[in-house]
Symmetry: C2
Subunit: 548 residues, 2 copies
């Protein structure tokens, strides 16, 4: 059943024509704030600044019902087969990221999920023993991983570094760009560096290539890679080889890259740098939110309500983008992870029934922390020609015990006053005779609040986003767990690498690439080879002569 | 004259109905690559993967002509009054960022620009003397600045750190979030830290507040702020006070924040950390591009051609977004600066003639480095329901002398093969019986190429983007140099701060805020105050008991 054919969809389309205008007198007041709240674990979502009313919320509830979003959530957490496309060859498997933190409360899990949680517990214990053995031994940990094994871990590391219990710093060698590796290596002492190589299949181009180069580099410096490399990979993958690694930690095909932060992909590097306890608190927070989102009433399910509001803005208010703006310095890389999580999960063109969609799927996700972004692209959000819905994230307290007064208020108070001011200003706007100082307003946003960005709260927030992504995909009836769209470019890059090899080999002779795509690539390559070198001709005297 | 009323606009609207389909046999080949190139300084823009043909390019040239974009560029660089809105109170002034690097070739400048360049030369010499005095004295430099004084400087610092000649590290205290300051302070030794406070007006909330807190902090640790603080500010601003700073460097009201990297805003912190010579090379590159973009033939003007292609995609192909994807690890923060530069400049709702626009202005800009982004949001760019045009940036050589072979090709070769593969795959697509593996293609992009990311080339690239932004604004007849849209939120945040003060004062009593907006803020604040604390109840035993 294509999302577009639901009864609720038709109803919502009608309601969109008379969506509430937030700039109208009395449209936004304190009473409305109380009516538009949903809580989940220790998080609270305030959505009075969204363009919804009770009628629209009812219709959205019907949409949740009709699309069977909650049934799908239960299937996901029960590890039933949800990653498939009807009638076409596809991955055909369950997804099990919630089982990775399911061991806090195994009794509540399905049989399959419990089995997966048991497997993960073995890995956690393996890691805990390894952690005890190496604690204090390393000053630096370098992750060789890309996509989910990079962005998620980086987002969590930055967000929790205020609680760091170990002294080790975390680096990422993700990109095949040699400048990435070169600058990471500049900062570390190899003898005190542990490398964590992450690849589920053991075959990702970037990882295999970067690992090979790195091993040679360690050897060339007289440091034995075997003692300094551990891996996180699938059991029996080409990387699962105790002769090559000091330790191998496992993950399984039911844990997708962008959902893998709570598996050993995140646990190993984060545990080694933030500390094992910090990671465990984080996992607990994730598990708590997993339990919360099984609630089937959207008014009491924070992730489902947020998903419905996203669908409302995307498909009925026709907003193709969503900005995620944390008013929290530590969360500066969090939007980049969510960009991956949401766009890779829901940037799809067919439904699970194998039909082309005739509605918009994933928005373009972007964001930078406030207040920084207020001085950057917020001009465009206030007065640009497109309405960009925003999800703000705010906290009552700081992470560091450092919140100083100036001009009569604390830094934290200033930060939060700005957050609230933005949400309200975007909604209400302000008329002005001077058209350049006129604000049309009626631009929707919502605010996710928590007391403090602790490991546990971050876990709740990340799990909230994972589940909101899954709910959105469920409402749209798409498969949020595969990523066939990355294959074409990957294949073509291999053909172009063959062309490069051929050209290097023949030296001057013209190769005859079979594919027309490769012919185009060759034309590109020739341009690159003919680029002019920059030439420096600094005339210091010109400067000097005229200076006072 | 509103952009929408041009003759070329009508023509382009017709042409858009039959825009070339890049997936058609023979649509994209090596010959087309040669026909769709424009060079500027040492940069080259390949746009064969855009949805244009010669007829469309002609119409775009007519649009450039009709909108008098080149005349506007000359006016900008001649420092004529371009920052205004007809009929309304506005900033009413010239812009002079190109003069900040105009001293390389003063003879070519207008009288006003030459005067501005002369002023800047004095500052450069002042800085050079200061630099000589303090060279090697500081291990850390901390910028207190936000928006333009943060994002631009950070983007350049990251991009050029491979050429760093000084040992000093650069930090940013931009956000009013106390966790930003706290984590910066954790990393530095105050006695060896120089603070650069940047505020043109001397009155930005974040800056004044952060500086005040920081001064007290230095004093509390027995380090004299006067000896460790310098400022970059307007002459005679409240900050221009030799009793408070070891040195004051000037900028002028004709240099806008987002265009200020080449003024003392960037020169001081970048000079102190990268080295004076590196910054001078960077400025030279910017100046070279300034000269290039005065060319009036779009086929020979790289920034103008790129602006026209942006307008084509935005207004005629109806794509609201633009992704900027550098295949260069050092440029990881460059998209964040361009997001500010473009969205703050061109995210406007009125023309310079004071009419509301009836067409789309600034796109939403976002981006992360390739190949990382291929493993993140590229799924959505290939198979999502919205077409997102892309500007790729690529280099033939690496910055570091570190490019290792593995599996028969170097890392750099792999990187560039991926870049080219993405552009081609997005354009050509690929039919497949399996709808989930079907690629519709016809998704446009272009590739900006240079030999190597040197200081000079980075200067050319940044100047290219500054001018492309100005050209786009000129074509749309909007004012790319003010930012009235940030005012409303700023004002409201001050009212909310008053509310916070009142609440703290009355302790429990209900204040009666005058504004309805402030009443809403109070409802938000109450929610924040009532948030639950997280509670940790980790059961380690559960884990242990079940472990093998």
């Amino acid at each position: 059943m294509n999302f577009d054919r639901f009864i609720a969809t038709k109803k919502l389309r009608e309601l969109a024509k008379k969506a509430p205008d937030l700039t109208k007198d009395g449209a936004l007041d304190a009473k409305r704030v109380e009516e538009m709240v949903v809580s989940g674990c220790q998080l609270r979502l305030l959505f009075s600044t969204e363009r919804v009313n009770q009628e629209i919320l009812h219709a959205l509830e019907e949409l949740a019902e009709e699309s069977e979003a909650c049934k799908k959530m239960a299937m996901i957490q029960n590890m039933e087969m949800v990653n498939y496309i009807e009638g076409y060859a596809s991955e055909n498997r369950a997804v099990g990221h919630t089982a990775m933190r399911g061991f806090f409360n195994e009794k509540k899990l399905s049989k399959k999920a419990r089995e997966a949680a048991e497997l993960e517990k073995i890995e956690i214990e393996k890691f805990r023993n390894f952690y005890k053995k190496v604690e204090g031994k390393y000053t630096d940990v370098a992750v060789v991983g890309i996509g989910g094994s990079y962005l998620g871990t980086q987002a969590v590391y930055n967000a929790l570094s205020a609680y760091q219990k170990c002294k080790a710093r975390l680096h990422f060698i993700s990109n095949v760009d040699p400048d990435n590796m070169a600058s990471a290596l500049q900062e570390v002492d190899l003898k005190k560096t542990l490398v964590v190589v992450v690849s589920k299949s053991g075959g990702t181009l970037e990882i295999v290539s970067n690992e090979e180069v790195l091993r040679h580099y360690f050897e060339s410096k007289g440091v034995n890679p075997k003692e300094h490399f551990v891996c996180v990979t699938g059991e029996k993958s080409p990387m699962d080889n105790p002769n090559l690694y000091a330790a191998c930690f496992y993950l399984w095909d039911f844990v997708g890259g962008r959902y893998s932060v709570s598996s050993m992909v995140g646990v190993v590097p984060l545990g080694l740098t933030l500390g094992f306890d910090v990671v465990l608190e984080f996992l607990q927070g994730m598990h708590e939110m997993d339990q919360h989102v099984l609630e089937t009433n959207p008014r009491k399910n924070i992730a489902l309500m947020s998903a419905l509001l996203d669908v409302w803005n995307r498909n009925f208010m026709n907003c193709p983008n969503l900005a995620i703006i944390p008013y929290a310095y530590g969360m500066s890389r969090f939007p980049a992870h969510l960009q991956q999580l949401i766009m890779e999960s829901n940037g799809k063109h067919i439904t699970q029934e194998g039909e082309y969609v005739n509605f918009g799927t994933s928005q373009t996700i972007f964001g930078e922390p406030g207040t920084d972004s207020q001085h950057s692209f917020f001009q465009c959000l206030h007065q640009g020609t497109d309405v960009v819905p925003i999800e703000f994230i705010g906290f009552r307290e700081s992470q560091h015990d450092f919140d100083k007064e100036s001009m009569g208020t604390s830094q934290r108070t200033k930060l939060n006053a700005n957050l609230f001011a933005q949400a309200i200003a975007l909604a209400t706007g302000k008329k002005d005779e001077n058209k350049n100082r006129d604000f049309k307003g009626n631009r929707q946003s919502r605010i996710l609040l928590a007391k403090k960005l602790t490991p546990q709260i971050l876990g709740q927030i990340l799990s909230y986003y994972e589940h909101k992504t899954a709910f959105t995909g469920a409402i749209w009836h798409i498969n949020s767990f595969d990523q066939e769209g990355v294959q074409l470019g990957k294949k073509l890059s291999l053909s172009i690498l063959d062309l490069y090899k051929e050209r290097a080999h023949k030296k001057g002779a013209t190769p005859h690439p079979a594919q027309k795509e490769v012919q185009v690539a060759e034309a590109f390559i020739k341009h690159m080879e003919n680029l002019e070198a920059p030439h420096i001709h600094l005339d210091y005297d010109v400067l000097k002569k005229h200076a006072q």
